[in-house]
C-alpha cells in the first residue's frame, strides 16, 4: 500500500470512528441541536422581536448561532477518544498525525452541517425569512456553510490540540477560538447579507475579498495544521 493510500485510509478510520461515536451517543448531537434552538429563541428577545426581522440582524443572528454551535462542538472534539483511550492508542501507532487532524476536520464539517440543516429550518420559521430571500440565498448558502465549517473546524481542531494539556481549557478555547475565526464570521455575515435582495449595498462593497477570506483562512490554517501535526499530537 502506498503512503498516500495509507494516509487516506488512516484519515477515513479517524473520520469513521468519530461518526460512529456520535451515532452511538445520539444525545450529544441532539443536545447540540437543542442548544442551537435555545439560541435561536434567545436572540429575538435579546435584540427585540421587531428588530430581529431586519435583514442585517436576521443574517447576523443565524451566523452567531452557528458560531456558538461550532465553539461547543470543537471544545468536545477529542472527548470521546480521550475517554475511551482511543487517542492514546492512535498516537502509539504509526498513524500519520496529519491524517488524524484531517479525519477530525472532515468529521467536524459534516457534523456541523447535520446540525445546521435543521437549524436553517428553525431560522426560516422563527425569523420569518421571506421566500425571495431564500431563493436568492439558495446558491450561496451551501458553499458558505461548507467553507464556514471548514474554516472554523480547522481552527477549532488546531486549538483543541493546543489547549489539550492546559488546566484552563474552558477559558482558553473561546479566548483563542473567537478572535482567530473572526474573519470567517465577518465574511460569512457579509456574503449572506449581500445576497439578500432586501438590502441596498453601499458603492464599493465587493464580495470578492470576502470569498477570498472564506477560502484563504481554511487553506492557511490547514497548512499550519499539517506542518505542525507532529507537535500537535504528542503522546
Amino acid at each position: 500500500m502506498s503512503a498516500a493510500q495509507l494516509w487516506r485510509r488512516n484519515c477515513w478510520l479517524v473520520f469513521e470512528y468519530s461518526v460512529r461515536s456520535v451515532f452511538l451517543r445520539k444525545a450529544s448531537w441532539a443536545g447540540t441541536l437543542a442548544f442551537a434552538a435555545c439560541l435561536a429563541i434567545l436572540f429575538p428577545f435579546a435584540f427585540g422581536t421587531e428588530l430581529i426581522q431586519k435583514a442585517e440582524i436576521r443574517h447576523g443572528a443565524f451566523w452567531a448561532i452557528n458560531e456558538f454551535v461550532v465553539a461547543l462542538t470543537v471544545a468536545r472534539l477529542f472527548t470521546v477518544e480521550t475517554e475511551g483511550g482511543i487517542l492514546e492508542y492512535f498516537l502509539s501507532t504509526q498513524v500519520n498525525r496529519s491524517a488524524i487532524l484531517f479525519g477530525k476536520i472532515l468529521f467536524v464539517v459534516l457534523y456541523l452541517l447535520s446540525i445546521q440543516l435543521p437549524l436553517l429550518l428553525m431560522w426560516i420559521v422563527f425569523y420569518n425569512v421571506p421566500g425571495n430571500v431564500l431563493l436568492s440565498l439558495g446558491s450561496t448558502l451551501l458553499p458558505l456553510l461548507v467553507l464556514f465549517n471548514l474554516g472554523t473546524g480547522t481552527i477549532g481542531a488546531l486549538l483543541a490540540c493546543v489547549t489539550a494539556r492546559s488546566t484552563a481549557r474552558d477559558i482558553l478555547m473561546p479566548l483563542l477560538f473567537y478572535p482567530l475565526q473572526m474573519s470567517i464570521l465577518l465574511a460569512a455575515v457579509s456574503l449572506a447579507t449581500m445576497s439578500d435582495p432586501g438590502i441596498v449595498m453601499l458603492a464599493g462593497t465587493s464580495n470578492e475579498s470576502w470569498w477570498t477570506a472564506m477560502l484563504g483562512v481554511p487553506v492557511l490554517f490547514l497548512a499550519v495544521g499539517v506542518l505542525l501535526s507532529n507537535v500537535l499530537f504528542q503522546e
Binding site: 489547549t163 492546559s166 484552563a168 479566548l175 483563542l176 478572535p179 474573519s183 492557511l220 500537535l232 504528542q234
Partner: protein
C-alpha cells in the same frame, strides 16, 4: 545560560537602555517641536510619531516570535532558548499592541469623532492583541513544561498569521483608517514628516530591542527559579 553570563548580559543591556531612551526622546522632540502642524489635522497628527512606531514594533515582535518558534521546531537543540525568545517577543508584542490600540483610539477621537470604530484595521489589531493575551493565559495554565513550550510556540505562529491580515486590511476592505501613506507610491506626506517618522520608528525599534534583551534574561531567570521551586517541592 549560566547565571553569571545572564547577569553580565543584563547589566550590559541595562546600560544601553539609557542611550536608547535618549534617542527616543530626541525623536519625540522632533515630532513635537521641529515639525509644523498638519494643514488638515492640526496638532493632533503629532500622535502619529508614537502610534505608527508602536504599531510597527507590535508587528515586528509578533513576527519575530513566530520566527523564533519555527526555528525552535526545526532545530530541536535550541528549542528551549527559542521558546524563551518567543516568550519575550510576545511580551513585547502584547505591550506594543496595547499601546497601538490606545494611541490609535486617542487619535481616532478628534479625527473620526469616536474612540472606537469597527473598522477592519482596528478590529484585526484587537484580534492580534487578544491572541497575544491568550498566549500568556495558555502559558500560565499549562503546568507541564514541554506541553507549555509546544503550545506556546504554536500560538505564537498563529498570532503571526494575523499580522499580514492587519497590515493589508486597509487595502483589502473599505476602511475609515487611512491607507499606507508612506509605503504606497504617490503618498501625500511631506518628506520632513517621513524623515521624523522614520527616526521615531528606528528609535522605538532600538528601544524595543534593548527591552527584549533585558526581558529575555528575565524570562530565563524566571524559568530557572520555577524549576528550582519545583525541584524543592518534589524533594
Amino acid at each position: 545560560m549560566p547565571q553569571a553570563h545572564r547577569d553580565k548580559t543584563f547589566s550590559l543591556w541595562a546600560k544601553i537602555l539609557y542611550p536608547a531612551i535618549f534617542i527616543q526622546l530626541v525623536g519625540w522632540y522632533l515630532g513635537l517641536f521641529w515639525i509644523g502642524a498638519d494643514k488638515d489635522q492640526g496638532e493632533v497628527f503629532r500622535i502619529m510619531f508614537v502610534h505608527v512606531p508602536v504599531a510597527w514594533c507590535a508587528f515586528v515582535w509578533i513576527l519575530a516570535a513566530a520566527v523564533f518558534a519555527i526555528i525552535g521546531f526545526v532545530r530541536k537543540s535550541v528549542f528551549e532558548q527559542m521558546d524563551q525568545n518567543t516568550h519575550a517577543a510576545i511580551d513585547l508584542g502584547t505591550v506594543f499592541g496595547a499601546l497601538a490600540l490606545a494611541t490609535g483610539s486617542i487619535w481616532g477621537r478628534p479625527t473620526w469623532g469616536v474612540w472606537w470604530d469597527w473598522d477592519p484595521r482596528l478590529t484585526t489589531t484587537l484580534v492580534m492583541f487578544l491572541i497575544c493575551c491568550a498566549y500568556h493565559v495558555l502559558r500560565s495554565f499549562t503546568p507541564d513544561v514541554q506541553a507549555r513550550r509546544n503550545a506556546g510556540q504554536i500560538v505564537a505562529i498563529l498570532a503571526a498569521v494575523n499580522v499580514p491580515i492587519v497590515y493589508f486590511s486597509v487595502n483589502i476592505w473599505r476602511s475609515v483608517h487611512q491607507p499606507q501613506t508612506f509605503v504606497r507610491k504617490g503618498g501625500s506626506a511631506s518628506p520632513d514628516i517621513g524623515l521624523v517618522l522614520l527616526v521615531n520608528t528606528l528609535a522605538m525599534l532600538l528601544l524595543s530591542f534593548v527591552i527584549f534583551k533585558i526581558r529575555r534574561v528575565a524570562v530565563a531567570t524566571e524559568e530557572t527559579l520555577e524549576a528550582a521551586r519545583e525541584g524543592r517541592n518534589q524533594a
